[in-house]
Structures are given as C-alpha cells and as structure tokens.
Amino acid sequence: MTITDSPPSGEAPPGPRGRVVRRRASGDTERGFSRIFRWIATGAGALILAVLAAVALFLIARGWPAITATPAELADSVPRYPDDTSLVAYVGPLVFGTLLAAVLALLLATPVGMGIALFISHYAPRRLAQGLGYLVDLLAAIPSVIYGLWGFLVLAPVLKPVWFWLGENASWFPLFAGKVSATGKSIATVAVVLAVMVLPIITAVSREVFLQTPKLHEEAALALGATRWEMVRTAVLPFGRSGVISAAMLGLGRALGETMAVLMILSPGFTYSLHLLEAGNHQTIAAYIANDFPEASGLAVNTLIATGLALFVITLAVNMLARWIVARRKEFSGAN
C-alpha cells in the first residue's frame, strides 16, 4: 500500500565486507531444500522454454518446404489447392476463420462468464454459491468431443430457428446477411458451441479473482453509499480487471485450438466472408489440419505444418497482447 523504498530484504547485515562475501559464498543463506528447490524451479522454467523452442523449430523446419514452394508445386501436391495462389493467400482465410470463431466465442462467453462469476462471488447465498462453483469446475472437465456431439445433435437444431429469425429480421446487419444455412452448420453455431466450451474456464478464473477483492476496498465503496452493484463496479471489477483479461485469454487459447467441435459441426469453406449464418464459408486451422492430415503426404504435410505455424504465431501473439493489456496500467492495478 505504502511506497516501498526500504532496502530489499536479504540485504547483508552491516559488517566487514569480506565476512559478508564469505558467508554468501559458503552458502550460509541457502542450503538443503531451499537450494534443491531453486534448482527444480529453474529447471522447470528452462524446460518450458526448451519445449517451446523445440515446437517452434519443428514447425519452422517442417513447414519450410511449403513456405518456399511455388504456387504451381503447391497446386500439384495439395488436394483442392486453387491454381496461382501463394501459401499466404491460401492460409489467410483459415487464419480469418480461426480468429472469427474464437473472437465470436469470446464475445459471447466473457460477459456471461463474468456474470456467473460475480453471481457466485458476490450475490448468491453462500450455500448456493458453493454448489454453483463446484458445478462450473465440473463443466470445465467435460472433454471437447462431448461438447462437439452435443453441439451438433442438440444445440444446432435448437439454434436453427434463432438463426432463421435473425436472417429474416436482422439481415440489414452485415453479420446476419446472406443465405441462412438450412443445416445450421455455420460459424455462428460453432461460435456458440465454442462459447459454451470456454465458459467454464472463464467463469472459474474470474470467480477466483473476484473472491480475492480486498474486503477493505469493498467496504470503502459500501461506506461511501454504494449499492451492491456500485460496489462491484468501483471495487471488484477494477481489481479483477487483469484477472478477467487473463481468464478471457485462457478461453481464447482454448477456442483458437479447439478442433473436434469445429470439425464435427462446421461445413467448411475458404473465404473471408462475414456472413456468420451461411454454411460453407469458413474453416479453422485446427479443424483443417485434423481433417486433412490422415490423407496427406509429401508437400501437403508441409503445408499443413505451415498452417500450424500460423496458429502457433497467433496464439503467441494473443498471449503477448494479453500481457501487454495487463501490464499497461500496472501502476493502477492494486499490486502496489
């Protein structure tokens, strides 16, 4: 809370310099478990970096033949590859489809997830809150192929009338223009299923963050005459802001990489269309790779790996963006 300008702890006690140095050198300050733990922690950190580097290297090395190949070579060996198209032009719609599905899912899931988290942390009676929290954690554990099945068999038919209604009454809105898919196998359906899939993780993380709001600040707001909602707005939400962003980014990561549900629901296509209710316009990178990999050989495999590299870069970029957003107003974050 206060300005910390005190010397860092662990500062050597005043005394002859030589003695201080010797004591440090003989490891007086750190021995046994403490030292072992430091090695384990350092090792774990290094391991993560190594794995990351290994994956990146693999993607670049194996994707390289496709990146350097001419459009003609690609068209020869990759199935359904259009003529006279560079790799970038080919992967572009996939990147677009991936981002579109994930961002739509996030737009749907984040407000709902925050709402549920707030309800659990600040509105529900304690008993109910505990049960709900437990339930949300359970939802997070459901495998994605189950969500895929459920999305395809249950949610898509339920959503279809909604999409038709939107197509009829809201087609002036660009996103809802175009021919509404009769099967519901559109990116809109995928986005809703993805939203349901990322909802538990967003809710669980946000709830944890909201619960950690200092009592001090909640009471400060209440004592100023805040209603419960105003208290949430002045104390809880600002405090939880960076946590919610982290939660959303975790959700985004899951949505970007989600394969099964997309594969099972979406009728694929390679365009930059913004018509969310049409089928056959979009495809995501993960679903594309999963779909084509079993049949691919030669340069086609390299092409798939190159698209994988694109997904890797997107995910990294998203995470760095999230960190930047979190760090931007660190001064005001309550961490000091």
């Binding site: 809370m1 300005i3 001090l216 005459g225 805040a226 005001f332």
Partner: protein, 259 residues
C-alpha cells in the same frame, strides 16, 4: 449539516454471539466523541452499527434503535445505502481505491449512482475536499497519479477527503491514526478539529492522549471477559473522564493501571 445520534438499548450480534450489550448513548452534533476501551470490547462493532456497515458481515444483526435526529436508522423503510451516504466512515487502514487516480478517489462517492457532475464542479469539489483534508498542497500537481502511490498518512487524508466529498452529516473514524507516524497523526488530529465545525465526529482510538486532545466527549467500553459482550461503562465530558470518572474501571483504564 451536522446531526445528532441517539442509540437506544442497542445489542449487536455476530450470528449467535452477542458482541455488544445494551448500549445507549447520545452523540452531539458539531463535536468530537471518542470511544476508548480495551481490545475486543466492541468499539469497532458499535461504530459500524451507526452507519449500518455492521450488517455487511454475513450473519450479523442489530437489535435496538439508532436514531439520527429522531429518525430510526434501522426502521423498516430506511435504505442502508442512504444511511451510509449520510454517515461516512474512515477505516483503520487507509483504503483508497488502488485502480483510481487521486482525483477519481475523491470523486468516487459522488460519481456513484451515475450522478452526473460537470467538470468544473468536479474540479472545485476535488480541491475543496482535498483542502478540507489538508492534502491539497501535497497532491495538487499529481491528481492523476494513483492514490496508492501516496504515503500512509497521505492515503488516510485522501480517504478523509473522499468521505467529506459526499457531504455527510456524520463522520465515523475507526482508529484513523493507528497506522501512521506521529507527524501524520498530528495532521489528522488538526484536521479533526477543523472538521468538527461542520460535522458530527466519532473516533475510536487506543491512544489516551489522542482522545484527550481531540474529543469533547468520551465513551469508555469494557468487557467482562472473553466470550462476554462488551458494554458501555460510562460516557461523559472528556475532561471528566480523564480527571474524575464515576467508575473505578474507567479510572484504571485511563490511568494505564488496567489489567
């Protein structure tokens, strides 16, 4: 804009535990009333019932009447939110909102409930509140910096500025100086003397000299033993409490011969 408080036979509970038993007292407007007593005797608990902050604790409730100029704060049609706007509170630990700038901290209470305020009015209010809290000269060049970047004493004065910015009738202070150095403490004590011209002030303190210095009336609370409820032992003019109290316990306590 300063009002009188009458507490009538107030019992305060945390769940089944009765923390404070049968307190009745009158708090005069435009004066400083100090609550003193050993730790755990219910000073904070009683203070928090005066602006209905007590019921924020899960399971906590209050019996009896607390009247502000004759209006029962615990009446059926009284909104606790409105009570807290009228009766402000300063806490033991300075608690400016860390995500807000100094300026926004001062305006936090005013901006609640989506009340609109023009920029010039806001500027004026920020300046007058910070001047009222003796903080203006120290922060006027960095109003847009975070409130958490101030020293502890400055933060506490910022909290006082935030409290008086909503123009309450009464200001409650729970050991406002306990986290502060002697200089900041003196600054706040001076401020309390200023504020009592306009507000009814109630202050909890463990510091006898402070109670003697700043308050007009002093209430002594005591507790018979752990698990027993705290009680109001006696309340009188501060000079009387410190020179010739009626009760032996009070005399022991204020003279430091306690326990």
């Amino acid at each position: 804009m300063s009002k009188r408080i009458d507490a009538k036979d107030v019992n305060i509970y945390y769940g089944d535990f009765r923390a404070v038993e049968s307190v009745s007292m009158t708090i005069e407007p435009r004066s400083v009333t100090a609550f003193i007593g050993p730790s755990g005797c219910g000073k904070t608990t009683f203070l928090r019932t005066l602006n209905r902050m007590h019921e924020v604790v899960p399971g906590a409730h209050v019996e009896g009447k607390v009247e502000l100029e004759g209006v029962d704060l615990y009446g059926p049609d009284v909104d606790p939110v409105a009570v807290r706007r009228t009766i402000g509170m300063v806490f033991q630990r300075p608690n400016p909102f860390p995500t807000m700038s100094i300026r926004d901290n001062v305006l936090a209470g005013v901006k609640l409930n989506n009340r609109r305020i023009s920029k010039s009015d806001a500027d004026e209010l920020v300046e007058s509140s910070l001047r009222g809290a003796n903080l203006w000269s120290e922060v006027k060049d960095r109003l847009d910096k975070p409130g958490s970047g101030l020293s502890g004493g400055q933060q506490q004065r910022l909290c006082i500025a935030r409290t008086i910015a909503v123009r309450p009738e009464v200001v409650l202070m729970d050991e406002p100086c306990s986290a502060l150095d002697p200089i900041s403490t003196l600054a706040i004590e001076d401020l309390i003397q200023e504020l009592k011209k306009d507000y009814t002030i109630v202050i909890v303190t463990h510091n006898m000299q402070q109670a003697a210095r700043v308050s007009d009336r002093t209430a002594f609370f005591n507790i018979a033993g752990t698990g027993k409820p705290g009680k109001l032992i006696e309340m009188d003019d501060t000079a009387t409490i410190f020179s010739s109290p009626r009760e032996k316990d009070t005399e022991d306590y204020v003279s430091g011969r306690f326990g």
